[in-house]
Amino acid sequence: MEIINSFVRAFQLIFEFDKGVYEIILLSLYVSLSSTVISTIMGVPLGIFLGLKDFRGKKVLIRIIYSLMSTPPVIVGLAVFLVIARKGPLGFLGLTYTPPAMVIAQVVLVTPIVVGLVFNNVVEKGSNIRNMAFTLGANKLQTLVLLLNELRSNILVAVTTGYGRAISEVGAVMIVGGNIRGHTRVMTTSIAMLRSMGDYETAIALGLVLLLISFIINSIIYNYQRARGV
């Protein structure tokens, strides 16, 4: 029953055009998509590099990255907080309780996931592609572009997984963002707050809105991907 009410409430929330809710949804998307994009830009090349190059200490590095995939968001939030806090080394930037801080924290959280998953796919299929590019005369950049193209369905899964982590986590954004109404309140922090206020219905409704958005984003990405013939 509570669940059914929540569905009804979810649609109300969407069609109600409640400005507050829309702001929250938009900020959520802004923060998670920004951090996913940044993590992708940093993590995909790193994953490819690790997948193709051999060097001393690589094995340990890989295990560290896999371990970082299990870092609790609260810890990431805390670590980032201590760095950007008023008394921290980057305190002069005044980043605490701002959306950029939330993006930074999520980047720290999501990048290991992207690196770890991309790495694994590159180990398997990357060397064939790299060797082909190598023998056809491609330079480093061209090889990278080719790898991105050929592995795009794998990269997409890695990025989707990372995005899933970003949009759904609450621990990190809560600490560095502070859930300030009208400033840094996002869907997950709202959900946590509503929950702690005992308003399960609206909490679940917001959760459903979030899932709906994820579904739409996934559908867009996979349609685009299929249109390119994968």
Binding site: Y97, S190, G198
Partner: protein, 256 residues
Amino acid sequence: GTGSSEESSIILATTTSTENSGLLDFLLPIFQEDTGIEVKVIAVGTGQAIKLGEDGEADVLLAHAKASEEAFVAAGHGVERFDVMYNDFVLIGPDSDPLNVKGLAGNDIVKALEIIKNSGEGAFISRGDESGTHKKELELWAELGLEPEGEWYKSVGAGMGETILMAEELQGYTLTDRATYLSMVGNLDSVIITEGDTKMFNQYGIIAVNPDKNDKINNEGAIKFIEWMLSEKGQELIKEFGVEEFGDSLFIPNAK
């Protein structure tokens, strides 16, 4: 009724202040020794604590939002509400007190809030989560006859501890119960700016959840717990708590 396996334990839904201050850690082992009943503590926001009571997910509530608690009993969710103890709210803020609230307002909390509001550069951090503390804060603003809104007023929708930490980081002011503040004082630079106003009285009540809600509720245990808390021994222990560490009681027992 109660299942035999549940007889030895009850679920207590309470606000974070009682758990984080260490009061329950102090009391509950003694209670268990006396009665054999184990108390499982769910420390959540006041709103959720009351919701857990309404849904029959907890056996007994210990909260500090008198109006909501009375409404809870009036609606038949609880059996009866008893006063247990009180502590008080304090306004905390940066050590430097940039707005000189302390100097200008003395122990007048309403005046203190007015100064913060009018300064134009101060920051007030509100819990914004409809907790007992938040409701108290709204009462005080209502007395000033104004709606707190604007850049200076940050509604953070968070627990007491988190709200204090944000005030600390933002060099702002916030309203907190004394127990939570004292339990965190070692990790804080913020100091008490305003205290002692009679308006800042913070009453805790205890309520057994209506056993008719479902057959899992351990009403017997809940009643034993309430009786114990209200007993001379319970009240004495509450008074004792904190004296050693902070030099003064954190909670003042006041069962009738």
